[in-house]
Protein backbone atom coordinates (compact mmCIF):
# COMPACT_ATOMS: atom_id res chain seq x y z
CA UNK A 1 0.00 0.00 0.00
CA UNK A 2 3.05 2.25 0.16
CA UNK A 3 2.62 2.74 -3.58
CA UNK A 4 -0.08 5.29 -2.88
CA UNK A 5 2.42 7.46 -1.04
CA UNK A 6 4.38 7.99 -4.24
CA UNK A 7 1.24 8.63 -6.25
CA UNK A 8 -0.10 11.22 -3.81
CA UNK A 9 3.28 12.91 -3.75
CA UNK A 10 3.18 13.17 -7.53
CA UNK A 11 -0.35 14.58 -7.60
CA UNK A 12 0.45 17.27 -5.05
CA UNK A 13 3.62 18.31 -6.87
CA UNK A 14 1.75 18.56 -10.16
CA UNK A 15 -1.19 20.44 -8.66
CA UNK A 16 1.01 22.97 -6.90
CA UNK A 17 3.09 23.50 -10.03
CA UNK A 18 0.00 24.19 -12.08
CA UNK A 19 -0.02 27.81 -13.18
CA UNK A 20 -3.67 28.40 -12.35
CA UNK A 21 -5.03 25.98 -9.75
CA UNK A 22 -3.25 27.28 -6.61
CA UNK A 23 -4.35 30.83 -7.42
CA UNK A 24 -7.89 29.68 -8.07
CA UNK A 25 -8.09 27.96 -4.70
CA UNK A 26 -7.96 31.37 -3.02
CA UNK A 27 -9.25 33.59 -5.79
CA UNK A 28 -12.36 31.64 -6.65
CA UNK A 29 -14.17 31.63 -3.30
CA UNK A 30 -13.15 35.24 -2.63
CA UNK A 31 -14.47 36.42 -5.98
CA UNK A 32 -17.69 34.44 -5.88
CA UNK A 33 -18.52 35.43 -2.33
CA UNK A 34 -17.67 39.08 -2.82
CA UNK A 35 -19.51 39.59 -6.08
CA UNK A 36 -22.34 37.10 -6.51
CA UNK A 37 -24.40 37.91 -3.41
CA UNK A 38 -24.71 41.51 -4.61
CA UNK A 39 -25.30 40.74 -8.24
CA UNK A 40 -27.58 37.73 -7.96
CA UNK A 41 -30.47 39.29 -6.17
CA UNK A 42 -34.16 39.17 -6.91
CA UNK A 43 -34.89 42.57 -5.44
CA UNK A 44 -36.29 44.87 -8.10
CA UNK A 45 -35.89 48.61 -8.11
CA UNK A 46 -36.61 51.47 -10.47
CA UNK A 47 -39.66 49.94 -12.09
CA UNK A 48 -40.98 52.28 -14.75
CA UNK A 49 -44.64 53.01 -14.20
CA UNK A 50 -47.37 54.67 -16.26
CA UNK A 51 -50.29 56.01 -14.27
CA UNK A 52 -53.60 56.55 -16.04
CA UNK A 53 -55.50 58.97 -13.85
CA UNK A 54 -59.13 59.01 -15.04
CA UNK A 55 -60.27 60.57 -11.80
CA UNK A 56 -58.04 63.65 -11.65
CA UNK A 57 -59.18 64.20 -8.11
CA UNK A 58 -57.24 65.18 -5.02
CA UNK A 59 -57.40 61.56 -3.86
CA UNK A 60 -55.89 60.23 -7.07
CA UNK A 61 -53.20 62.91 -6.96
CA UNK A 62 -52.27 61.81 -3.46
CA UNK A 63 -51.97 58.21 -4.61
CA UNK A 64 -49.73 59.31 -7.48
CA UNK A 65 -47.53 61.24 -5.08
CA UNK A 66 -47.17 58.19 -2.91
CA UNK A 67 -46.09 56.08 -5.86
CA UNK A 68 -43.65 58.77 -6.87
CA UNK A 69 -42.15 58.86 -3.39
CA UNK A 70 -41.40 55.12 -3.45
CA UNK A 71 -37.89 54.06 -4.40
CA UNK A 72 -39.27 51.10 -6.29
CA UNK A 73 -40.99 53.15 -8.97
CA UNK A 74 -40.06 55.83 -11.45
CA UNK A 75 -43.07 57.51 -13.01
CA UNK A 76 -42.50 57.33 -16.72
CA UNK A 77 -45.64 59.05 -17.93
CA UNK A 78 -49.15 60.03 -16.89
CA UNK A 79 -51.03 59.33 -20.11
CA UNK A 80 -54.63 60.22 -20.74
CA UNK A 81 -55.89 56.76 -21.56
CA UNK A 82 -55.15 53.11 -20.91
CA UNK A 83 -54.37 52.30 -24.59
CA UNK A 84 -51.76 55.01 -24.55
CA UNK A 85 -50.16 53.54 -21.45
CA UNK A 86 -50.32 50.10 -23.00
CA UNK A 87 -48.47 51.46 -25.98
CA UNK A 88 -45.65 52.51 -23.61
CA UNK A 89 -45.43 48.96 -22.29
CA UNK A 90 -45.27 47.59 -25.82
CA UNK A 91 -42.46 49.95 -26.65
CA UNK A 92 -40.62 48.93 -23.50
CA UNK A 93 -40.83 52.41 -21.99
CA UNK A 94 -42.93 51.27 -19.06
CA UNK A 95 -43.04 48.07 -17.01
CA UNK A 96 -46.31 48.49 -15.20
CA UNK A 97 -49.57 50.46 -15.45
CA UNK A 98 -51.73 51.74 -12.64
CA UNK A 99 -55.19 52.79 -13.81
CA UNK A 100 -57.32 54.86 -11.46
CA UNK A 101 -61.06 54.83 -12.35
CA UNK A 102 -62.88 58.09 -13.00
CA UNK A 103 -65.23 57.46 -10.10
CA UNK A 104 -62.32 56.95 -7.69
CA UNK A 105 -63.06 59.79 -5.24
CA UNK A 106 -66.81 59.30 -5.47
CA UNK A 107 -66.54 55.58 -4.84
CA UNK A 108 -64.24 56.09 -1.90
CA UNK A 109 -66.55 58.49 -0.21
CA UNK A 110 -69.94 56.99 -1.12
CA UNK A 111 -69.42 53.29 -1.73
CA UNK A 112 -66.64 53.06 0.85
CA UNK A 113 -64.55 51.15 -1.65
CA UNK A 114 -62.96 51.49 -5.04
CA UNK A 115 -61.03 49.44 -7.59
CA UNK A 116 -57.76 50.30 -9.27
CA UNK A 117 -56.34 48.32 -12.11
CA UNK A 118 -52.74 47.14 -12.21
CA UNK A 119 -51.25 45.71 -15.40
CA UNK A 120 -47.69 44.48 -15.30
CA UNK A 121 -45.43 43.42 -18.12
CA UNK A 122 -44.56 39.93 -17.01
CA UNK A 123 -41.98 39.12 -19.65
CA UNK A 124 -39.61 39.37 -16.75
CA UNK A 125 -41.95 37.56 -14.42
CA UNK A 126 -40.05 38.39 -11.25
CA UNK A 127 -40.15 42.06 -12.03
CA UNK A 128 -43.83 41.80 -12.94
CA UNK A 129 -44.72 40.01 -9.73
CA UNK A 130 -42.65 42.18 -7.48
CA UNK A 131 -43.85 45.41 -9.15
CA UNK A 132 -47.35 44.23 -8.54
CA UNK A 133 -46.65 43.48 -4.91
CA UNK A 134 -44.95 46.78 -4.23
CA UNK A 135 -47.73 48.71 -5.91
CA UNK A 136 -50.32 46.77 -3.94
CA UNK A 137 -48.57 47.72 -0.73
CA UNK A 138 -48.57 51.40 -1.64
CA UNK A 139 -52.25 51.28 -2.52
CA UNK A 140 -53.01 49.50 0.76
CA UNK A 141 -51.15 52.11 2.77
CA UNK A 142 -53.02 54.79 0.94
CA UNK A 143 -56.29 53.08 1.70
CA UNK A 144 -55.48 53.01 5.39
CA UNK A 145 -54.66 56.68 5.40
CA UNK A 146 -57.96 57.54 3.76
CA UNK A 147 -59.75 55.29 6.19
CA UNK A 148 -58.30 57.22 9.11
CA UNK A 149 -59.30 60.54 7.63
CA UNK A 150 -62.80 59.78 6.45
CA UNK A 151 -63.98 57.74 9.37
CA UNK A 152 -63.22 58.55 12.94
CA UNK A 153 -62.73 55.65 15.36
CA UNK A 154 -66.44 55.37 16.18
CA UNK A 155 -67.35 54.41 12.63
CA UNK A 156 -64.67 51.80 11.99
CA UNK A 157 -67.27 49.27 10.93
CA UNK A 158 -67.92 51.11 7.71
CA UNK A 159 -64.36 51.59 6.66
CA UNK A 160 -63.97 52.03 2.91
CA UNK A 161 -61.59 49.68 1.21
CA UNK A 162 -59.70 49.71 -2.00
CA UNK A 163 -59.82 46.27 -3.42
CA UNK A 164 -56.86 45.19 -5.48
CA UNK A 165 -57.95 42.70 -8.10
CA UNK A 166 -54.76 40.63 -8.56
CA UNK A 167 -53.60 39.23 -5.27
CA UNK A 168 -50.04 37.89 -5.47
CA UNK A 169 -47.88 37.12 -2.59
CA UNK A 170 -44.15 36.90 -2.99
CA UNK A 171 -41.62 36.43 -0.34
CA UNK A 172 -39.44 39.38 -1.03
CA UNK A 173 -36.86 38.35 1.44
CA UNK A 174 -35.04 41.28 2.87
CA UNK A 175 -32.15 38.97 3.84
CA UNK A 176 -31.79 37.50 0.39
CA UNK A 177 -27.99 37.70 0.52
CA UNK A 178 -27.95 35.77 3.76
CA UNK A 179 -30.23 33.16 2.24
CA UNK A 180 -27.95 32.77 -0.79
CA UNK A 181 -24.55 32.72 0.92
CA UNK A 182 -24.68 29.05 1.98
CA UNK A 183 -25.81 28.24 -1.55
CA UNK A 184 -22.81 29.99 -3.05
CA UNK A 185 -20.48 27.96 -0.86
CA UNK A 186 -22.16 24.82 -2.22
CA UNK A 187 -21.72 26.14 -5.74
CA UNK A 188 -18.00 26.80 -5.32
CA UNK A 189 -17.29 23.41 -3.80
CA UNK A 190 -19.30 21.64 -6.50
CA UNK A 191 -17.51 23.36 -9.34
CA UNK A 192 -13.98 22.91 -7.98
CA UNK A 193 -14.28 19.37 -6.66
CA UNK A 194 -16.51 18.11 -9.47
CA UNK A 195 -14.59 19.50 -12.42
CA UNK A 196 -10.89 19.46 -11.51
CA UNK A 197 -10.41 15.70 -10.89
CA UNK A 198 -12.14 14.94 -14.15
CA UNK A 199 -9.99 17.33 -16.17
CA UNK A 200 -6.87 15.99 -14.46
CA UNK A 201 -7.53 12.39 -15.51
CA UNK A 202 -8.56 13.26 -19.05
CA UNK A 203 -5.41 15.36 -19.42
CA UNK A 204 -3.40 12.24 -18.52
CA UNK A 205 -5.34 10.37 -21.18
CA UNK A 206 -4.52 13.01 -23.76
CA UNK A 207 -0.81 13.13 -22.96
CA UNK A 208 -0.64 9.33 -22.83
CA UNK A 209 0.82 9.13 -19.34
CA UNK A 210 -2.19 7.18 -18.09
CA UNK A 211 -1.22 4.37 -20.46
CA UNK A 212 2.16 4.21 -18.79
CA UNK A 213 0.45 3.95 -15.40
CA UNK A 214 -1.88 1.26 -16.74
CA UNK A 215 1.07 -0.95 -17.68
CA UNK A 216 2.23 -0.87 -14.06
CA UNK A 217 0.82 -2.96 -11.22
CA UNK A 218 -0.87 0.10 -9.62
CA UNK A 219 -4.40 -0.84 -8.61
CA UNK A 220 -7.17 1.34 -9.91
CA UNK A 221 -8.31 1.99 -6.37
CA UNK A 222 -4.91 3.42 -5.41
CA UNK A 223 -4.70 5.42 -8.59
CA UNK A 224 -8.12 7.02 -8.14
CA UNK A 225 -7.64 7.59 -4.42
CA UNK A 226 -4.32 9.32 -5.06
CA UNK A 227 -5.99 11.47 -7.70
CA UNK A 228 -8.77 12.49 -5.34
CA UNK A 229 -6.92 13.19 -2.10
CA UNK A 230 -5.40 16.47 -3.38
CA UNK A 231 -8.82 17.65 -4.52
CA UNK A 232 -10.41 16.73 -1.22
CA UNK A 233 -7.71 18.79 0.47
CA UNK A 234 -8.35 21.67 -1.92
CA UNK A 235 -12.07 21.35 -1.24
CA UNK A 236 -11.57 21.62 2.51
CA UNK A 237 -9.26 24.63 2.09
CA UNK A 238 -11.78 26.36 -0.16
CA UNK A 239 -14.54 25.59 2.28
CA UNK A 240 -12.56 27.09 5.14
CA UNK A 241 -11.78 30.22 3.14
CA UNK A 242 -15.48 30.51 2.26
CA UNK A 243 -16.62 30.12 5.87
CA UNK A 244 -14.15 32.79 6.86
CA UNK A 245 -15.25 35.15 4.07
CA UNK A 246 -18.90 34.75 4.91
CA UNK A 247 -18.17 35.68 8.49
CA UNK A 248 -15.76 38.50 7.66
CA UNK A 249 -17.79 40.23 4.97
CA UNK A 250 -21.37 39.43 5.91
CA UNK A 251 -21.00 38.65 9.60
CA UNK A 252 -22.82 35.36 9.12
CA UNK A 253 -21.97 32.51 11.49
CA UNK A 254 -23.59 29.09 11.22
CA UNK A 255 -25.88 29.00 14.19
CA UNK A 256 -25.69 25.19 14.09
CA UNK A 257 -21.89 25.18 14.40
CA UNK A 258 -19.03 24.45 12.00
CA UNK A 259 -18.65 20.79 12.96
CA UNK A 260 -21.81 19.68 11.20
CA UNK A 261 -20.94 21.77 8.17
CA UNK A 262 -17.51 20.16 7.83
CA UNK A 263 -18.90 16.66 8.19
CA UNK A 264 -21.55 17.25 5.55
CA UNK A 265 -19.07 19.00 3.27
CA UNK A 266 -16.53 16.20 3.44
CA UNK A 267 -19.18 13.65 2.52
CA UNK A 268 -20.34 15.86 -0.34
CA UNK A 269 -16.83 16.62 -1.61
CA UNK A 270 -15.96 12.92 -1.74
CA UNK A 271 -19.20 12.25 -3.59
CA UNK A 272 -18.92 15.00 -6.16
CA UNK A 273 -15.27 14.23 -6.91
CA UNK A 274 -16.33 10.63 -7.60
CA UNK A 275 -18.77 12.08 -10.10
CA UNK A 276 -15.84 13.88 -11.77
CA UNK A 277 -13.98 10.58 -12.07
CA UNK A 278 -17.00 8.88 -13.64
CA UNK A 279 -17.13 11.62 -16.30
CA UNK A 280 -13.43 11.18 -17.05
CA UNK A 281 -13.86 7.41 -17.37
CA UNK A 282 -16.36 7.91 -20.16
CA UNK A 283 -14.43 10.64 -22.01
CA UNK A 284 -11.31 10.32 -24.12
CA UNK A 285 -10.71 14.01 -24.72
CA UNK A 286 -10.92 17.21 -22.71
CA UNK A 287 -13.56 18.45 -25.11
CA UNK A 288 -15.84 15.51 -24.38
CA UNK A 289 -15.37 15.72 -20.66
CA UNK A 290 -15.92 19.49 -20.55
CA UNK A 291 -19.14 19.10 -22.48
CA UNK A 292 -20.39 16.29 -20.25
CA UNK A 293 -19.49 18.22 -17.12
CA UNK A 294 -21.20 21.42 -18.24
CA UNK A 295 -24.29 19.42 -19.15
CA UNK A 296 -24.55 17.70 -15.78
CA UNK A 297 -23.37 20.61 -13.63
CA UNK A 298 -26.03 22.83 -15.15
CA UNK A 299 -28.70 20.26 -14.36
CA UNK A 300 -27.60 19.59 -10.81
CA UNK A 301 -27.25 23.29 -10.03
CA UNK A 302 -30.54 24.42 -11.53
CA UNK A 303 -32.47 21.47 -10.12
CA UNK A 304 -31.19 21.65 -6.57
CA UNK A 305 -33.16 24.48 -5.05
CA UNK A 306 -30.14 26.74 -5.23
CA UNK A 307 -31.88 29.59 -7.02
CA UNK A 308 -35.49 28.51 -7.07
CA UNK A 309 -37.45 26.55 -4.48
CA UNK A 310 -37.95 22.86 -5.29
CA UNK A 311 -41.57 23.00 -4.16
CA UNK A 312 -42.29 25.34 -7.04
CA UNK A 313 -41.02 22.92 -9.67
CA UNK A 314 -43.23 20.56 -11.68
CA UNK A 315 -43.40 16.98 -10.42
CA UNK A 316 -40.85 15.62 -12.91
CA UNK A 317 -38.34 18.31 -11.99
CA UNK A 318 -38.91 17.64 -8.32
CA UNK A 319 -38.15 13.98 -8.98
CA UNK A 320 -34.80 14.97 -10.50
CA UNK A 321 -34.13 17.37 -7.64
CA UNK A 322 -34.62 14.60 -5.10
CA UNK A 323 -32.19 12.40 -7.03
CA UNK A 324 -29.59 15.15 -6.91
CA UNK A 325 -26.96 15.10 -4.16
CA UNK A 326 -26.62 18.88 -4.35
CA UNK A 327 -30.19 19.25 -3.08
CA UNK A 328 -29.32 17.55 0.19
CA UNK A 329 -26.06 19.38 0.67
CA UNK A 330 -27.82 22.69 0.02
CA UNK A 331 -30.50 21.75 2.51
CA UNK A 332 -27.95 20.94 5.21
CA UNK A 333 -25.99 24.13 4.55
CA UNK A 334 -29.05 26.35 4.85
CA UNK A 335 -30.44 24.48 7.84
CA UNK A 336 -27.20 24.76 9.76
CA UNK A 337 -26.38 28.31 8.71
CA UNK A 338 -29.82 29.88 8.97
CA UNK A 339 -32.00 27.68 11.13
CA UNK A 340 -29.31 26.54 13.53
CA UNK A 341 -29.87 22.83 13.01
CA UNK A 342 -27.45 20.49 14.72
CA UNK A 343 -25.94 17.23 13.49
CA UNK A 344 -28.87 15.17 14.77
CA UNK A 345 -31.34 17.40 12.93
CA UNK A 346 -29.69 16.83 9.57
CA UNK A 347 -29.08 13.09 9.89
CA UNK A 348 -31.57 12.27 7.15
CA UNK A 349 -30.14 14.46 4.35
CA UNK A 350 -26.65 13.57 5.56
CA UNK A 351 -27.46 9.86 5.29
CA UNK A 352 -28.76 10.32 1.76
CA UNK A 353 -25.62 12.29 0.89
CA UNK A 354 -23.57 9.40 2.29
CA UNK A 355 -25.38 6.93 0.03
CA UNK A 356 -24.67 9.13 -2.98
CA UNK A 357 -21.02 9.22 -1.97
CA UNK A 358 -20.78 5.43 -1.83
CA UNK A 359 -22.70 4.95 -5.06
CA UNK A 360 -20.76 7.53 -7.11
CA UNK A 361 -17.36 6.36 -5.91
CA UNK A 362 -18.10 2.67 -6.43
CA UNK A 363 -19.21 3.53 -9.94
CA UNK A 364 -16.03 5.55 -10.43
CA UNK A 365 -13.78 2.65 -9.44
CA UNK A 366 -15.76 0.04 -11.39
CA UNK A 367 -15.93 2.11 -14.59
CA UNK A 368 -12.20 2.87 -14.58
CA UNK A 369 -10.61 0.42 -17.02
CA UNK A 370 -6.94 -0.43 -16.93
CA UNK A 371 -7.43 -2.70 -19.92
CA UNK A 372 -9.34 -1.52 -23.02
Amino acid sequence: MSVIKYLIEKEFKQTLRNAIIPKMIVGYPVMVLLIFPWAINFEVKNIKIDIVDNSKSSYSQRLINKVDASTYFIINNVPASYPEAFNDIEKGKADIILEIPSSFDKDLVKEKKSDVRISANAVNSTQGLLGNTYLTQIVNNFSQEIRGELYPASQKARVPQIEIVPDYRYNKSLDYKIFMLPAFIVLIVTLICGILPSLNIVTEKETGTIQQINTTPVSKFSFILAKLIPYWTIGIIILTISFFMVWLVYGLLPSGGYGTLYIASIVFIIGVSGFGIIISNYSDTLQQSMFLILFFILIIILLSGLFTPISGMPAWAQAIAYGNPLTYFMEIMRLVYLKGSSLTDVLKPLGILGLFMLFLNSWAVVSYRKRG
Partner: protein, 247 residues
Protein backbone atom coordinates in the same frame (compact mmCIF):
# COMPACT_ATOMS: atom_id res chain seq x y z
CA UNK B 1 10.63 -20.95 -17.01
CA UNK B 2 11.61 -24.40 -18.03
CA UNK B 3 11.43 -23.88 -21.77
CA UNK B 4 13.01 -20.39 -21.66
CA UNK B 5 10.12 -18.77 -23.48
CA UNK B 6 9.22 -15.53 -21.71
CA UNK B 7 6.53 -14.72 -24.22
CA UNK B 8 4.45 -17.42 -25.85
CA UNK B 9 1.31 -16.54 -27.77
CA UNK B 10 -0.87 -18.34 -30.26
CA UNK B 11 -3.74 -17.09 -32.33
CA UNK B 12 -3.64 -13.67 -30.69
CA UNK B 13 -6.32 -11.49 -32.29
CA UNK B 14 -7.75 -8.04 -31.72
CA UNK B 15 -10.76 -6.72 -33.55
CA UNK B 16 -12.14 -3.21 -33.39
CA UNK B 17 -15.63 -3.61 -34.81
CA UNK B 18 -15.15 -5.09 -38.28
CA UNK B 19 -11.50 -4.14 -38.42
CA UNK B 20 -9.04 -6.84 -37.43
CA UNK B 21 -5.99 -4.97 -36.16
CA UNK B 22 -4.13 -8.12 -35.15
CA UNK B 23 -4.99 -11.30 -36.99
CA UNK B 24 -4.12 -14.59 -35.29
CA UNK B 25 -0.45 -14.05 -34.56
CA UNK B 26 1.63 -16.74 -32.89
CA UNK B 27 5.24 -16.52 -31.76
CA UNK B 28 7.64 -17.17 -28.88
CA UNK B 29 10.27 -14.92 -27.42
CA UNK B 30 13.19 -16.52 -25.62
CA UNK B 31 14.59 -15.31 -22.36
CA UNK B 32 17.32 -12.69 -22.72
CA UNK B 33 16.85 -12.21 -26.42
CA UNK B 34 16.40 -8.95 -28.31
CA UNK B 35 13.27 -9.51 -30.32
CA UNK B 36 12.56 -7.09 -33.15
CA UNK B 37 8.89 -6.60 -33.93
CA UNK B 38 8.74 -4.95 -37.35
CA UNK B 39 5.94 -3.84 -39.56
CA UNK B 40 4.68 -0.92 -41.59
CA UNK B 41 2.60 1.84 -40.02
CA UNK B 42 -0.80 0.45 -39.16
CA UNK B 43 0.33 -3.18 -39.37
CA UNK B 44 -0.89 -3.77 -35.81
CA UNK B 45 2.36 -3.65 -33.83
CA UNK B 46 1.21 -1.27 -31.13
CA UNK B 47 -2.05 -3.14 -30.63
CA UNK B 48 -0.13 -6.41 -30.28
CA UNK B 49 2.20 -4.87 -27.69
CA UNK B 50 -0.72 -3.46 -25.76
CA UNK B 51 -2.29 -6.90 -25.55
CA UNK B 52 0.98 -8.37 -24.28
CA UNK B 53 1.27 -5.59 -21.66
CA UNK B 54 -2.22 -6.19 -20.41
CA UNK B 55 -3.72 -2.84 -21.35
CA UNK B 56 -5.76 -4.17 -24.27
CA UNK B 57 -7.94 -7.24 -24.02
CA UNK B 58 -7.44 -9.78 -26.82
CA UNK B 59 -10.51 -10.69 -28.85
CA UNK B 60 -9.20 -14.22 -29.32
CA UNK B 61 -6.09 -16.30 -28.78
CA UNK B 62 -4.09 -17.25 -25.76
CA UNK B 63 -0.63 -16.95 -24.40
CA UNK B 64 1.65 -16.17 -21.52
CA UNK B 65 3.97 -13.29 -20.74
CA UNK B 66 6.60 -13.80 -18.03
CA UNK B 67 4.80 -17.03 -17.20
CA UNK B 68 1.37 -15.44 -16.62
CA UNK B 69 -1.77 -15.86 -18.65
CA UNK B 70 -2.46 -12.78 -20.78
CA UNK B 71 -6.22 -13.17 -20.43
CA UNK B 72 -6.59 -13.73 -16.71
CA UNK B 73 -3.36 -12.69 -15.03
CA UNK B 74 -2.74 -9.39 -16.76
CA UNK B 75 -2.15 -7.56 -13.46
CA UNK B 76 0.54 -10.11 -12.49
CA UNK B 77 2.21 -9.62 -15.85
CA UNK B 78 2.48 -5.91 -15.07
CA UNK B 79 4.76 -6.62 -12.11
CA UNK B 80 7.27 -8.27 -14.43
CA UNK B 81 7.42 -5.99 -17.41
CA UNK B 82 8.56 -2.53 -18.34
CA UNK B 83 6.84 -0.55 -21.07
CA UNK B 84 7.91 2.42 -23.10
CA UNK B 85 5.13 3.67 -25.30
CA UNK B 86 5.33 5.23 -28.72
CA UNK B 87 4.15 8.47 -27.18
CA UNK B 88 6.58 9.90 -24.66
CA UNK B 89 4.90 9.23 -21.38
CA UNK B 90 6.93 10.39 -18.45
CA UNK B 91 5.47 13.33 -16.57
CA UNK B 92 6.70 16.50 -18.22
CA UNK B 93 5.85 18.61 -15.19
CA UNK B 94 7.94 16.49 -12.83
CA UNK B 95 11.70 16.70 -12.44
CA UNK B 96 14.01 13.93 -13.63
CA UNK B 97 14.52 12.50 -10.14
CA UNK B 98 10.82 12.80 -9.35
CA UNK B 99 9.85 10.70 -12.36
CA UNK B 100 12.38 8.04 -11.39
CA UNK B 101 11.14 8.11 -7.81
CA UNK B 102 7.50 7.81 -8.86
CA UNK B 103 7.98 4.76 -11.05
CA UNK B 104 10.40 3.18 -8.59
CA UNK B 105 7.75 3.59 -5.90
CA UNK B 106 5.02 2.20 -8.11
CA UNK B 107 7.02 -1.01 -8.62
CA UNK B 108 7.41 -1.43 -4.88
CA UNK B 109 10.91 -0.11 -4.25
CA UNK B 110 11.41 1.75 -0.98
CA UNK B 111 12.87 5.23 -0.50
CA UNK B 112 16.38 3.93 0.19
CA UNK B 113 16.46 1.60 -2.81
CA UNK B 114 15.11 4.36 -5.03
CA UNK B 115 17.68 6.88 -3.83
CA UNK B 116 20.59 4.47 -4.37
CA UNK B 117 19.43 3.32 -7.78
CA UNK B 118 18.69 6.87 -8.90
CA UNK B 119 22.22 7.88 -7.99
CA UNK B 120 23.67 4.95 -9.86
CA UNK B 121 21.44 5.52 -12.89
CA UNK B 122 22.17 9.22 -13.20
CA UNK B 123 25.91 8.58 -12.92
CA UNK B 124 25.78 5.87 -15.56
CA UNK B 125 23.84 8.13 -17.93
CA UNK B 126 26.16 11.06 -17.09
CA UNK B 127 22.99 12.87 -16.19
CA UNK B 128 23.82 14.08 -12.67
CA UNK B 129 23.53 17.76 -13.50
CA UNK B 130 20.07 17.26 -14.99
CA UNK B 131 18.71 15.66 -11.83
CA UNK B 132 16.53 18.68 -11.01
CA UNK B 133 15.59 19.54 -14.57
CA UNK B 134 11.92 19.47 -15.50
CA UNK B 135 11.45 16.62 -17.94
CA UNK B 136 9.64 18.97 -20.33
CA UNK B 137 12.89 20.92 -20.82
CA UNK B 138 14.98 17.93 -21.96
CA UNK B 139 15.82 17.29 -25.63
CA UNK B 140 13.92 14.38 -27.20
CA UNK B 141 16.89 12.01 -27.29
CA UNK B 142 17.49 12.48 -23.60
CA UNK B 143 13.84 12.05 -22.84
CA UNK B 144 13.87 8.71 -24.64
CA UNK B 145 16.96 7.54 -22.78
CA UNK B 146 15.34 8.55 -19.52
CA UNK B 147 12.07 6.84 -20.42
CA UNK B 148 13.95 3.64 -21.22
CA UNK B 149 15.91 3.83 -17.97
CA UNK B 150 12.68 4.30 -16.06
CA UNK B 151 11.08 1.37 -17.90
CA UNK B 152 13.87 -0.97 -16.72
CA UNK B 153 14.43 0.70 -13.34
CA UNK B 154 12.78 -2.16 -11.48
CA UNK B 155 14.73 -4.77 -13.54
CA UNK B 156 11.69 -6.40 -15.14
CA UNK B 157 11.85 -9.77 -16.92
CA UNK B 158 10.80 -8.18 -20.19
CA UNK B 159 10.81 -4.65 -21.49
CA UNK B 160 8.50 -3.60 -24.32
CA UNK B 161 9.77 -0.72 -26.41
CA UNK B 162 7.32 0.74 -28.90
CA UNK B 163 9.35 2.70 -31.46
CA UNK B 164 11.79 4.00 -28.89
CA UNK B 165 14.03 5.78 -31.40
CA UNK B 166 11.39 7.57 -33.47
CA UNK B 167 12.56 11.10 -34.27
CA UNK B 168 15.94 10.65 -32.62
CA UNK B 169 19.22 11.53 -34.36
CA UNK B 170 21.60 8.72 -35.51
CA UNK B 171 24.23 9.34 -32.82
CA UNK B 172 21.59 9.19 -30.12
CA UNK B 173 20.06 6.06 -31.69
CA UNK B 174 23.44 4.40 -31.50
CA UNK B 175 23.71 5.24 -27.80
CA UNK B 176 20.18 4.05 -27.26
CA UNK B 177 20.99 0.65 -28.75
CA UNK B 178 24.01 0.42 -26.52
CA UNK B 179 21.64 0.82 -23.60
CA UNK B 180 19.41 -1.90 -25.02
CA UNK B 181 22.40 -4.25 -25.21
CA UNK B 182 23.34 -3.45 -21.63
CA UNK B 183 19.82 -4.27 -20.52
CA UNK B 184 19.93 -7.55 -22.44
CA UNK B 185 23.25 -8.37 -20.78
CA UNK B 186 21.50 -7.98 -17.41
CA UNK B 187 19.11 -10.69 -18.54
CA UNK B 188 16.21 -8.44 -19.47
CA UNK B 189 14.39 -9.67 -22.54
CA UNK B 190 13.88 -6.82 -25.00
CA UNK B 191 10.82 -6.67 -27.22
CA UNK B 192 11.29 -3.75 -29.59
CA UNK B 193 9.42 -2.28 -32.54
CA UNK B 194 11.18 -0.04 -35.00
CA UNK B 195 10.96 1.47 -38.45
CA UNK B 196 14.72 1.65 -38.90
CA UNK B 197 15.91 -1.41 -40.75
CA UNK B 198 19.50 -0.89 -39.65
CA UNK B 199 18.21 -1.36 -36.10
CA UNK B 200 16.54 -4.59 -37.14
CA UNK B 201 20.02 -5.96 -37.84
CA UNK B 202 20.88 -5.52 -34.15
CA UNK B 203 18.14 -7.90 -33.04
CA UNK B 204 18.63 -11.58 -32.33
CA UNK B 205 15.43 -12.40 -34.14
CA UNK B 206 12.85 -10.31 -35.93
CA UNK B 207 9.26 -10.81 -36.93
CA UNK B 208 7.68 -8.81 -39.70
CA UNK B 209 4.00 -7.95 -39.48
CA UNK B 210 1.95 -7.25 -42.59
CA UNK B 211 -1.73 -6.38 -42.28
CA UNK B 212 -2.09 -7.75 -38.77
CA UNK B 213 -0.32 -11.07 -39.51
CA UNK B 214 3.24 -12.18 -38.93
CA UNK B 215 4.64 -13.02 -42.36
CA UNK B 216 8.21 -13.77 -41.41
CA UNK B 217 10.05 -14.64 -38.23
CA UNK B 218 13.71 -15.56 -37.97
CA UNK B 219 17.16 -14.16 -37.35
CA UNK B 220 18.14 -11.25 -39.62
CA UNK B 221 20.74 -13.34 -41.45
CA UNK B 222 18.31 -16.19 -42.09
CA UNK B 223 15.67 -13.79 -43.36
CA UNK B 224 18.14 -12.13 -45.74
CA UNK B 225 19.04 -15.52 -47.09
CA UNK B 226 15.43 -16.62 -47.40
CA UNK B 227 14.36 -13.47 -49.26
CA UNK B 228 17.57 -13.22 -51.22
CA UNK B 229 18.29 -9.73 -49.92
CA UNK B 230 21.47 -7.86 -49.06
CA UNK B 231 20.00 -6.18 -46.02
CA UNK B 232 16.88 -6.08 -43.84
CA UNK B 233 15.60 -3.10 -45.75
CA UNK B 234 15.16 -5.24 -48.86
CA UNK B 235 13.54 -8.01 -46.86
CA UNK B 236 11.08 -5.53 -45.42
CA UNK B 237 10.25 -4.02 -48.79
CA UNK B 238 9.62 -7.41 -50.33
CA UNK B 239 7.21 -8.32 -47.56
CA UNK B 240 5.54 -4.95 -47.08
CA UNK B 241 4.72 -4.80 -50.79
CA UNK B 242 2.07 -7.45 -50.16
CA UNK B 243 0.16 -5.13 -47.86
CA UNK B 244 -3.38 -4.32 -48.92
CA UNK B 245 -4.11 -2.15 -45.90
CA UNK B 246 -4.12 1.57 -46.51
CA UNK B 247 -2.03 3.59 -44.11
Amino acid sequence: MSNNDVIKVSGLTKKFGHFTAVDHISFDVKEGEIFGFLGANGAGKTTAIQMLCGISKPTAGKGTVAGYDILRENEKIKRNIGYMSQKFSLYEDLRVWENIRLFGGIYGLNDKQIADKTEELLTRLKFEDQRNAMVRSLPLGWKQKLAFSVAIFHTPKIVFLDEPTGGVDPAMRRQFWEMIYEAADQGITVFVTTHYMDEAEYCNRVSIMVDGRIDALDSPSALKQQYDAVNMDQVFRKLARKSTRAE
